[in-house]
Symmetry: C2
Subunit: 348 residues, 2 copies
C-alpha cells in the first residue's frame, strides 16, 4: 500500500467541526490536503472549510456520505475525538452508509469499530477494511537495542509537556528535508500521525513491556531511509505519560533530539500542580538518558508560539537561542530550516 | 482476603526443581515458608527440599496432588517458569487434580490458565478461583500525580539492571521495618512479588499509557500504612524495560530510593553491548527524574554479592560506601538495618 497516492478521504466531523474538537481532521487536512475530497458535517454544510478551521480551502463540507460519492471516495476517516472516546449514536449511520458504498473506515477512537458486529459484517460483505489505528500489531518483540546499529539518522521530537507540537515538528522536519532532496520518512507513533502517514504504531497502546520494542520495530522496518523523523510522545517528567516517553527514546535510539516547548505554558496541561521544567534541566535529562544507548544531543528547540504575534514569537526565539545556545524556531510561523541545517551537519 | 494467615500452598515444580528454573518457588518458600505445605516434583519426591534449593527445610516433596490432601491445601501455586511461558502438557493433570480437590490455582505463566475451558469449567463447578497474577485489574486509571499527596513514606527500589535484587531488597526492608514496629507494607509490582504478598499489579503487563496510573493505584490503595516498600522493575537505562521503570517511579512518587546493584556484573544481563552505568551516573539520573514529582533522594545501595565470599562482599560494601557516601549492604548476607536507619531518619 502506498496510501499517499491512492487514498481519497472523506473526513467525518459531524456536529463538531471546530479547531479543538476536530484536531485530527485539522491535522490530516493540513498535511494531506491533496487526499481529502470532502468533510461531513451537516451543521456547516456548504460553508467554506478554511474559514472555520483555518485550513482546507476548496474542500467541500457536505451533510452525508451520499453527497460525497461523485468524488469517488475510498475511505471514511473519523476526524473527531468525542468525549470518552466512544461512538456517538448519530455517527453510526454515516459509518454504515460509508461501508455500504465501498469505503474503508479509518478510526482512532478508543472504542474499536472492528469489534462492532454490524460494521464487521458490512466490511466482510464488501471486502473492506476497518482500520482502528490505535490497535498495535501483534508481532511486537521486546526491545533489543538494535536500532542503534542501523545507518539511518534517527531524529526524535521530545517535549516539556504533552500536546505541545511534537507531531507537527516531526512532520515539518520530514517535509523540509524532502524538499532539500533528503530521503526522509515521518515515523508516526500516535493515532493522528498514523492517519496522516498511513502507517505507524500507537506506542501508548502497547503493553508496557513492549514500548521500546515497538519503537525499535518502527526504526528497523524503515532502514531504507536516510533520515527518520520520529514523532515523540508524552514528556520525560510527567505524572501520567513519562514511561511511554522513555521507552520511545530508548527503543528508537536517536542521534539527535528536537525539544518542543510552549513559552506561555507555565504548568503541565491538566496538571496545575506540576510546573514545566526549565529547558536546561530538560536538555540535560534527555541527553543523560539517551547517551548510554547511543551518543545523542538536543539539536534544536521547537517553540509553539500559537496565539503570540510574529514579533513576540521572534523575541522569544532569540531569548531561547541565547539561553540554550541551540537553534530555535516556531515551525508553523517560521519553518524548520534551522533544524534541517543542524540535522544535515550530523548526517552520515 | 488476608492471604497471609489463610493460604496453605502446594507449589508445583514438576520436573524443574532447581535454583534457576524454580525461582518463583524459591522466593515464595523463602518469604512465605509458613504458608507452604508441600512441593510437587516426582523426580525429587521424598528428598530434603533445602538440600536442593537452599530453603524450605522440613517441607515435603511429593509426586502428586493426592499426596498433599492430608495437609489440607487451599491453593496450587505454579512455581516454575517454563521456557516461552506456555503450559507443559504434563502439568495439566496436576492442575485438574488440584481443582477437583477444591484447590484454587495461582499462576504467573504468560499463558492465562483462566482462558482454558477445561480449567474454567472445573473452577466454576467447585466455586474456585484461577488467579493469573499477570492479568492487571480492569479499573486502572491514568496517572494523576496524587501519590505524592499521601502521608505514607514511599520507598522504591531501583536498579543498575534487571534481575539484580529489587524484589528481595523491598521485602527485606518491609520485614526489618515491621520488626522495629513500623507499620510497613510490601508493594508487589511483578508476578513473584504478587504471589508472595497475595496482592499487587504486574506493571509490565499494563497498557503503557497506564503504567504510572497502576503504580499510583498501588499507593492510594495502601494509605493506611506508615511505610510502603515498593518493588521496582527494570532499569532506567535499558533497551527493553526503561519505560516501565520510569512509569513506576513517577506513579509511586517516592521520597526515597534504594539503588540495587551487582558488583561483578559489567554489562546488562542478556545485553553484552550495554555496559552497566557507574553508580554516580545512576544516582544523579534517578534523583533528577524523581525530584520534579516529589523531593527524593537515593538513601542506600543494595549490593547483590551472590557467589562472593563474605569477606569480599564486606570489602565491596566499604568501597561502595566510600564512593557514594551512602549506606550499603547485601540484604541476604548482612541484613538491611542500615537502610531502616536511613528510612527512619526521614519517616514523617
Amino acid at each position: 500500500m502506498n496510501p499517499m497516492t491512492k487514498r481519497r478521504l472523506v473526513i467525518l466531523a459531524e456536529g463538531r467541526l471546530d479547531l479543538f474538537s476536530a484536531k485530527t481532521a485539522v491535522s490530516v487536512i493540513r498535511y494531506r490536503k491533496e487526499e481529502v475530497v470532502a468533510v461531513i458535517d451537516h451543521v456547516n454544510a456548504g460553508k467554506d472549510l478554511s474559514s472555520i478551521i483555518g485550513v482546507g480551502k476548496g474542500i467541500p463540507i457536505v451533510s452525508n456520505v451520499g453527497e460525497t460519492l461523485k468524488l469517488k471516495p475510498t475511505d471514511l476517516l473519523i476526524g473527531i475525538a468525542p468525549p470518552g472516546g466512544m461512538l456517538p449514536d448519530e455517527w453510526r449511520k454515516h459509518i454504515t452508509d460509508a461501508l455500504r458504498n465501498k469505503m474503508n473506515i479509518i478510526s482512532g477512537l478508543h472504542l474499536h469499530l472492528s469489534d462492532d458486529s454490524e460494521f464487521c459484517k458490512l466490511a466482510q460483505d464488501h471486502q473492506l477494511k476497518i482500520w482502528d489505528v490505535r490497535i498495535p500489531p501483534e508481532d511486537i518483540p521486546l526491545g533489543t537495542g538494535k536500532a542503534k546499529e542501523t545507518k539511518t539518522l534517527r531524529i526524535l521530537t521530545v517535549g516539556s509537556d504533552c500536546n505541545i507540537g511534537k507531531m507537527v515538528t516531526s512532520i515539518e522536519i520530514t517535509d523540509a528535508a524532502k524538499k532539500r532532496g533528503v530521503n526522509a520518512c515521518f515515523v508516526a507513533t500516535g493515532q493522528t500521525g498514523i492517519m496522516i502517514e498511513g502507517s505507524g504504531i500507537a506506542v501508548d497502546h502497547v503493553i508496557s513491556d513492549f514500548i521500546s520494542g515497538a519503537a525499535e520495530k518502527l526504526v528497523l522496518d524503515r532502514i531504507q531511509y536516510k533520515l527518520l523523523s520520529i514523532e515523540g510522545q508524552g514528556a520525560i517528567v510527567h505524572p501520567a505519560y513519562s514511561g511511554v516517553t522513555l521507552g520511545l527514546l530508548h527503543g528508537s535510539a536517536p542521534q539527535g533530539l528536537i525539544l518542543c516547548h510552549q513559552p506561555i505554558r507555565k504548568t503541565l496541561r491538566h496538571f496545575p500542580n506540576f510546573p514545566i521544567l526549565p529547558l536546561s534541566y530538560l536538555i540535560e535529562l534527555y541527553e543523560k538518558l539517551a547517551q548510554p544507548i547511543h551518543p545523542c544531543k538536543v539539536l534544536g528547540i521547537s517553540l509553539n508560539c500559537f496565539g503570540m504575534s510574529d514579533n513576540d514569537a521572534l523575541q522569544e526565539i532569540k531569548k531561547v537561542e541565547k539561553e540554550t545556545r541551540l537553534p530555535a524556531t516556531d515551525p508553523i510561523k517560521f519553518g524548520v530550516d534551522k533544524f534541517i541545517d543542524a540535522i544535515q551537519s550530523i548526517l552520515p
